[in-house]
Amino acid sequence: MVFTSAIFLFAFLPAALIAFYLVPPRWRTAPLIVMSAVFYAWGEPVLVVLILATGLFTYWWGRRILTQQADRRRKALLVVGIVVTLIPIAIFKYLNFVLVQLHLQSLADQTHLPLPIGVSFYTFMAISYLIDIYRRRDIGAPSLRAFSGFLTMFPHLVAGPIVRWNHIGPQLVAPRFDPGLFGYGALRVASGVAKKVVLADSLSVVVDGLFVTGDPTSVAAAWTATALYSLQIYLDFSAYSDIAIGLAAMLGVRFHENFNYPYISRSAREFWQRWHISLSSWFRDYLYIPLGGSRVRPALVWRNLIVVWALTGLWHGAAWTFVLWGLYFGVVIGLERSLYGDALARAPRPLQHLYGLLVAVLGWVLFRSTTLHQAGSYYWSMTGLRPDLPRWDPQVGLALDRTWVIAVIGIVLAAGAARPFMDRAERALTRTPAPAPPPAPSATPRSPTGSPTGSAAAREATGTTLTLEPTAERTEPAADQPISTLFAVVIALLVGVLLVVSTAFIVATTYSPFIYFRF
């Protein structure tokens, strides 16, 4: 089921919310599991077994690690647990790719398997659960119901964020109806849906048209396609995160933010502190730091960066373009650390922003291309050195004609223009501080409630430079700030308007008239 489909919004979501709040708080994970299973099975009636089995195994294996005292035995159990947890993703996502690399094309053709929805996300959630128990940073879920509720809860199933038990689990013990959080969640859902269906999907039509030939028609077409795609993927992915965060809030659960205006970054490193934060922090905590992080000799830092970023790329998809995309960031971040980071920091701020934006945008060429050859063709075209390519062609004119308004709105949003309003709404509605992104675990002792505690100083001590710090400019919401009637009405009206506009676009996507058109 897709968040922006009519069936989800007009049928599933109201039913799920009613079912959730009809039962007492401490039993609310039960309807959550049932509704999440329905949500998953709606699109994959058979593969729902896979996520349920992953949940069952992970919970059971976590108990085994927890009860085992001997360190070597615990480590062996962890390794086995991780390997078993990785089996579904290895088979469904990477087997075909491996077979093709081994020149076993005929076998690959026979083993073409469907990719289970969200397998990359829930596999990583399961692994972090096992590792946290192994590290004695967590005692795990108190029951299979609690763990299944965490792993399968529908808000994060389709496109993350990658949430962790020690953050979500305690919130799921007895989620209560919080009117303000419910209202804030509605605002995030409505804005996310609008961002996705009105802006991102409208852009995608034009972007797909520009990329369809696989070879740009002009220098300007190459740049336009890349720039518009950069905007599209941000609007699309961040919209999904907005919806997920909003849905969770409506269920009384707060997710960490997953995007923080990445295109205002001033370096590749900062970009990844702002883009898909839950993924970069996962790799930081469960791979980069265990490998030694950046507090090892330079050669090993490079090794760590290459390993982590190659796997980050591979996580996004089983193709060399994704691996190269990951490596591209690994190399750029490595160079920023070792070569020109200081010079960059001394450069004028506009230049830093331009650099940060350019690094991100150029990376999307690899990400969007289906083959390395296509990526190469785009890069070569963007240089303007291809003798066979005109500087401009009519495709660009039409593409800009069709998207300039959306692009302006998208750029304004990506620059954070809506942030003051959203922050104010969050403060006024929720009365609680926005959750900080996950801190580095190695410096984080387990709290009695399972919630992590940590500090920037502790992270500094581990040399965790890979991912985010709590952003300095994020304002702390004031406690118990009253909300005026006018502002409450403005928020409600905004939710209404966004929903009306989004509904028009959602209905339009289902409109496929037979209009006797071709003859």
Binding site: S5, A6, I7, L9, F10, A11, P14, L17, W42, G43, E44, P45, P179, G180, F182, G183, Y184, A186, L187, V189, V198, S202, M250, P394, Q395, G397, L398, A399, D401, R402, V405, I406, A428, L429, P482, I483, T485, A488, V489, I491, A492, V495, G496, L499, V500, V501, T503, A504, F505, V507, A508, T510, S512, P513, F514, I515, Y516, F517, R518, F519
Partner: protein, 410 residues
């Protein structure tokens, strides 16, 4: 007092959430409980019915897909949502193109992005065969090429859209020429001074003015071939029916349409030709009831000859009319036939897409027409999937290009 304040503060915080849940629930409940229409003129099809679940359909997911399709078709006020989408897309987002239809032409002409179609290698061979068969059966044959709107307004298409129709037109004309003399109406209908009146702005067909211009050209050509198609000297007055949205207008909806078309039809005091059913010739050739349809999205073009039929005979008993013609046509022929039937004694129209009758040679031998006219636009000719007994076009490859466009009224 404090309790009331608390309640007020809580209500203020909850109102956005309640607005969202209320909005979504009303739409969902409206789909389930609201009135269910079985057919939509906007969609031009029957709406999806709720699928009964079974073990098989639940396991393979087709039930879920069916439920989604049902919900999509039955969202309350669906047409209004679609109109709003068109309005927002064109007015707020300033999109000049909606669903591959150009909607921002200054004169309001809606033009579709041309599709690349393949001209079958055997097209000329088949045309030649048809020409031989018709002549062998004792009738002359005239091929008539009708340009699509995108050909007539080629200069108004966005430069980024390659006009494949102009690429394939020469090959289609060459193929037609293999079957006999060809009348190409491109120049007539592309006349910049008149073309805005020759095509509907929101529909892909020609208007009665276009059809009459085509009929005059055909009559002149027929005369040159020794076949007299009598003129109709009566005074035609234009009757204007309610405004309507044609095929492209329905596709982009009213919200994205600059202005609907006026269904203005030149017509004589009385239509003297009648269509025959079961040997009784009493059916109107211009179906006024369809022209008067109150639904602006109704396909009003089907008022001409009642729409497409595989085989239709009209008889005109007026002494001024004489001669008989067989017209092999697509839907452009419907408007033409309505006026042609007023001039000739017998007119037989054949739409190959629906025709299931006898072989053309037998038909010609049996009816002894003065002239057989084969009139097509290239999209119907190359994209047709249902040539049977008149299988002179091999269009299997092109049918793939036109997926989702089943044969029907054209």
């Amino acid at each position: 007092m404090s309790r009331r304040l608390l309640t007020t503060a809580t209500a203020r915080r909850a109102v956005a959430g309640l607005a969202l849940v209320g909005f979504l629930t009303v739409l969902g409940a409206g789909a389930v409980l609201g009135p269910h229409h079985s057919r939509s003129t906007l969609d031009g099809r029957s709406l999806v019915t709720f699928p009964p679940p079974s073990t098989t359909t639940l396991a393979d997911g087709t039930w879920m897909t069916g439920v989604e399709s049902w919900l999509n078709d039955h969202i309350p006020a669906r047409t209004r949502w679609l109109n709003l989408h068109g309005l927002l897309t064109t007015q707020a987002l300033r999109e000049p193109v909606v669903d591959n239809v150009l909607v921002d032409d200054p004169q309001g002409i809606q033009l579709e992005k041309p599709v690349r179609l393949r001209v079958p290698a055997a097209l000329a061979t088949h045309a030649a065969q048809l020409g031989r068969d018709v002549r062998a059966a004792g009738a002359p044959i005239l091929w008539v090429y009708v340009p699509r709107k995108e050909e007539a307004f080629a200069g108004r298409l966005p430069p980024a859209w390659h006009n494949y129709l102009l690429d394939t037109r020469p090959a289609v004309l060459r193929a037609m020429a293999a079957g006999g003399p060809v009348l190409d109406l491109s120049a007539t209908l592309s006349d910049p001074a008149r073309r805005d009146g020759y095509y509907w702005h929101t529909d892909h067909h020609w208007t009665p003015a276009g059809a009459l211009a085509g009929l005059d050209a055909i009559s002149a050509q027929a005369k040159a071939m020794g076949v007299d198609i009598p003129a109709d000297d009566r005074t035609y007055t234009t009757k204007t029916y309610a405004q309507w949205y044609g095929s492209t207008g329905r596709k982009v909806t009213a919200g994205a349409t600059r202005s609907p078309d006026r269904f203005a039809i030149p017509q004589p005091r009385t239509w003297r030709a009648h269509a025959c059913v079961g040997g009784v010739c009493d059916r109107a050739t211009f179906v006024a009831a369809k022209a008067r349809d109150s639904d602006p999205y109704a396909n009003r073009y089907t008022a001409f000859m009642g729409g497409d039929f595989g085989y239709q005979r009209t008889e005109n008993l007026d002494p001024a009319a004489h001669g008989s013609i067989i017209l092999i046509k697509d839907s452009f022929g419907d408007a033409l036939a309505t006026y042609l039937a007023e001039r000739v004694k017998t007119l037989i129209t054949i739409d190959e897409r629906h025709y299931r009758g006898q072989d053309i040679r037998k038909l010609v031998a049996q009816r002894h027409p003065d002239l057989v006219i084969v009139m097509h636009n290239q999209v119907s000719m190359l994209g047709n999937k249902q040539f049977n007994s008149l299988a002179w076009v091999n269009v299997a490859a092109n049918a793939k290009q036109l997926q989702g466009a089943p044969a029907g009224d054209g």
